[in-house]
């Protein structure tokens, strides 16, 4: 059923690209509710993306081609990541093209292009944002890799689809090493997606922003692509987390019923994860920029602890 596999694969990609802004909208909605504000529509991210596509692009005079190319590359990398992550089914054609380590590399590619584009204009904000983004990145990346090592030691592979299959074949049990790494992964997710406590997605305060500083010079369609890519990144991270820590329900065969069930379950998981994310963001305060390394070092140590527990206890 190769053709069927490709159809499922394409549908998965389209679904991820389409669902990502909705997921972001859901997180924003939950956060507004928790903070006693009247919530924006769940489709609000879509509306702003659409609005941005219709606007005229304004580009700084000192911009080079790299600046205009970067949004497409970042978006492309995020879509590729969505294709690689087994979010609804495991036996798909493109998922074999990259294992979890390559996935981390892909996310790093997007980050490097984003930072380079921010440096391209040559303003204080852009370079400051690039420097901070790379700082967060170089601390988060090893932590994420150690998380992946722990999971791959448990499953004897680094291929995400196989991890999903092997983990979901086990019955549910609280695995101490996976518990540690799940905490570490959540912290990396917060940092990498510019959420509180590391960065505030709702701020444009010059001295504290990281992600928004990178995008400051972007407008119109380029900004739309960058925003869409950021939403997709959050969606991808959530799906990576599902694949490693709550893989139950992801379809491991071609049965259509399984696929439908898996899509429904993915929606439920996303709803839960979005609400939890909003809760974390509401309960914590933003850290100073130089506390962020400590936050990520904690994540790294949690992951290493998970690794040691895994090697000591074998569980």
């Amino acid at each position: 059923m190769r053709v069927f596999d490709w159809i499922v694969q394409l549908m998965g990609i389209v679904m991820a690209v389409a669902a990502a802004p909705v997921f972001l909208g859901w997180v924003n909605q939950c956060r507004a509710w928790l903070q006693n504000k009247s919530a924006p529509n769940i489709l609000q991210p879509y509306r702003s993306i659409l609005k941005l596509f219709h606007k005229d692009a304004v580009i700084a005079q000192s911009a080079s081609r790299l600046f205009r190319l970067a949004p497409y590359v970042v978006f492309g990398a995020m879509v590729t990541a969505a294709a690689v992550i087994p979010s609804i089914a495991t036996r798909l054609p493109i998922t074999r093209a990259a294992d979890a380590i390559a996935l981390v590399g892909l996310l790093a590619t997007a980050r490097v292009f984003l930072s380079l584009a921010a440096m391209d204009i040559g303003t204080a904000f852009g370079t400051m944002g690039a420097r901070r983004e790379m700082m967060i990145g170089f601390l988060a990346e090893p932590a994420l890799l150690v998380v992946i090592f722990v999971v791959s030691l448990t499953c004897a592979t680094t291929a995400l689809p196989i991890i999903v299959e092997r983990l979901s074949a086990q019955s549910f049990a609280l695995n101490p090493s996976l518990a540690f790494t799940a905490v570490a992964f959540t912290m990396v997710l917060l940092a990498e997606n510019a959420r509180i406590p590391v960065d505030n997605p709702a701020t444009h305060l010059e001295l504290t922003m990281i992600h928004e500083a990178l995008l400051l010079e972007y407008s119109a369609r380029h900004l739309a692509l960058m925003d869409w890519a950021a939403a997709l990144k959050l969606f991808n991270y959530a799906c990576i987390g599902f694949a490693m820590f709550i893989p139950w329900g992801i379809a491991t065969s071609d049965a259509p019923m399984g696929l439908i069930l898996s899509v429904v379950l993915l929606g439920v998981k996303l709803a839960g994860a979005g609400a939890a994310l909003a809760l974390v963001e509401t309960l914590s305060a933003k850290l100073r920029v130089f506390r962020a390394p400590e936050f990520l070092a904690t994540a790294f140590l949690f992951a290493v602890l998970g690794l040691l527990v895994r090697l000591l206890l074998g569980a």
Binding site: H54, D56, A57, V58, A60, Q61, S62, S64, L66, Y72, V73, F75, G76, V79, T80, A83, I94, R96, A97, A98, D99, I101, A102, L106, A108, V112, S115, L116, M119, I121, G122, T123, A124, F125, G126, T127, M128, A130, R131, M134, M135, G137, E141, P142, L145, V146, F149, L153, A156, A159, L216, R221, L225, F290, P293, F300, V304, L307, L308, L311
Partner: protein, 659 residues
Amino acid sequence: MLCLLLLTAWCMAGLAGLARPLSIAFVGRTLFPLGAVFGAALALVAAISLTHPTEQLVLPIGLPDLPVHLRLDGLSGVFLILLGATATGISIFAAGYFRQGEGTAPGLICLQYHLFLASMGFVLLADDAYAFMLAWETMALSSYFLVTTQHRIPEIRKAGFLYLVMAHLGAIAILLSFGILQGGSWHFTFDAMRAAHLGPNGATIAFCLALIGFGAKAGLVPLHVWLPEAHPAAPSPVSALMSGIMLETALYGMIRVSFDLLGLPLWWWGLLPLLLGLFSALYGVVFAAAQTDMKRLLAYSSIENIGVMFTGLGLAIVFAGVGMHAAAALTLIAVMYHAINHAFMKSLLFLGTGAVLHATGERNLGHLGGLIHRMPWVAWLTLIGVLAIAGLPPLNGFVSEWLLLQSFLFAYKVPHPFINMLLPLGAALLALAAALAGYVMVKFFGVIFLGQPRESALQQARDAGFAERFGLAWLAIGCMLLGFFPTTVIALFSIVTQQLGLGGLPTSNAPWWLLLPIPERESSYAPLVFFAVIAIVVVLAILNVRFFYHQRIRKGAAWDCGFGGLNSRMQDTAEGFGQPIRHLFQPLFAMVRELPGPFDRRPRYRLEIGDRIWQALYQPLGPLVRRVADKVAWLQQGRIATYLLYSFVTLLVLLALML
């Protein structure tokens, strides 16, 4: 032995430079391109030889009864490919690079350059200790003269001297190592060393001496001090040769000694290169992040990459020592892959800095910026090298990193308690070094090529000439091919591991585009698919924007918060970009800082970053040597009668010993 012929041809091309030593046109237009052709031919011949059995040759030259033994096996072949293919790109670039007024006359540079290349080739072919040391010393000397090309500058003479001293200390260690390896047979061919039976103590000492000797040449911390001085001092093509190829010959030597001459190594030896390598990797990359000179930054990045290779080598030794041959083969393949990647990436970057240096006359990152507008060719080709060395897929740097991390995942199977738990932590540190490399490379590219020019003189910068572009493009294409076709490259490397007795990788029925090193783990990576998907999405997104929306673009000033007066001095400097790293890794640096007070009329900011290892290990050596020399000077009375007495006593002692 076509390789031998080509190496001799390199020597000839060098000698031909002496015919018209002052003619840039002759040397640049004829000899360097000729050298490039020889390089390409060498790579081709070496690649073909990999599929043939090992060749041996005895040349009756040199001292009587001590002929030169040469041998071309898989390991030599792989490194000869590296040498030939990289040298081709560098030589093409050099054809356009060397100009009048570089210090040494062009003809002489041509001789030293080609002698350097040929001696590296002979190091790889040598099959006895004499030939090896002869080639090794020729390599050190010719590169010393190349480093001191601009010998009128005192700092460069000083850097050259430091390099020479370290090179010779290393050479002594290698010589002593060979002395132990012959194992009492007093035959110094490598065949005799393979056959010699050393006890575990002798073998350990030989291994440690080799590690010191080759580590000094490779720039392993703490023997790295010469590297950040000598590599920036040399002209850029020479820096590229030294960083890209010469460091790898040291790795070759280490592989040769530990896996071939010593037979199968003891497992715990591996921990030494592993720890030193990990430390070097982190140390190098942290220092690279703090540099403000673009070539010094690259030199420190070389220390990092050498560290990564030695980490892998150490891991391979551990695996081989405990009998996990398949894992050892995978690790060794990752190491060789990283070596060839580093040769291409680092040469590309050094040549890129060379082009910038020629266009602007500036090496200090604080005076560069915005060159992507003036030098688009150099900028975009360098960007490929930058992405590759930052370890980003689908380029080549990522493949070797991926393989190395995969092999680290076997480490928990090592049958020694504690070690099997600590080894996977090495992977975490390696991941940290790789992520930091990304930081360093964003700084390198961003500060040089992006942003606004920090000096008005940069507006006059011209893009590189045709030969230079061609050389850069050669290396950039090499980076891409090595990244896109990993299975082909790995098939070549597994010939080497088979010859070294580790066996190749397990066969799998994976298609050619899918890298699947260990079939039962099912960890796979397909760079071409990767690249294709990204490319398709990018094209679709661009077409989508074109057909459904509009393409209107307005140019405007950058956002200045409404205050106005935005200028290029407000960008992050190289110091500023390195600041988070300096802050986080403060204990590693010996920093001297002068900060201006709030009421200074002439505020001055000064920051000097020193190397603690240099201060702690090397600086006390100078006074020590002087004190010892003062004591020894007592022997030098300056009277001929005393010296005759010395000779007489020596003769008496020798006679007594003989009888």
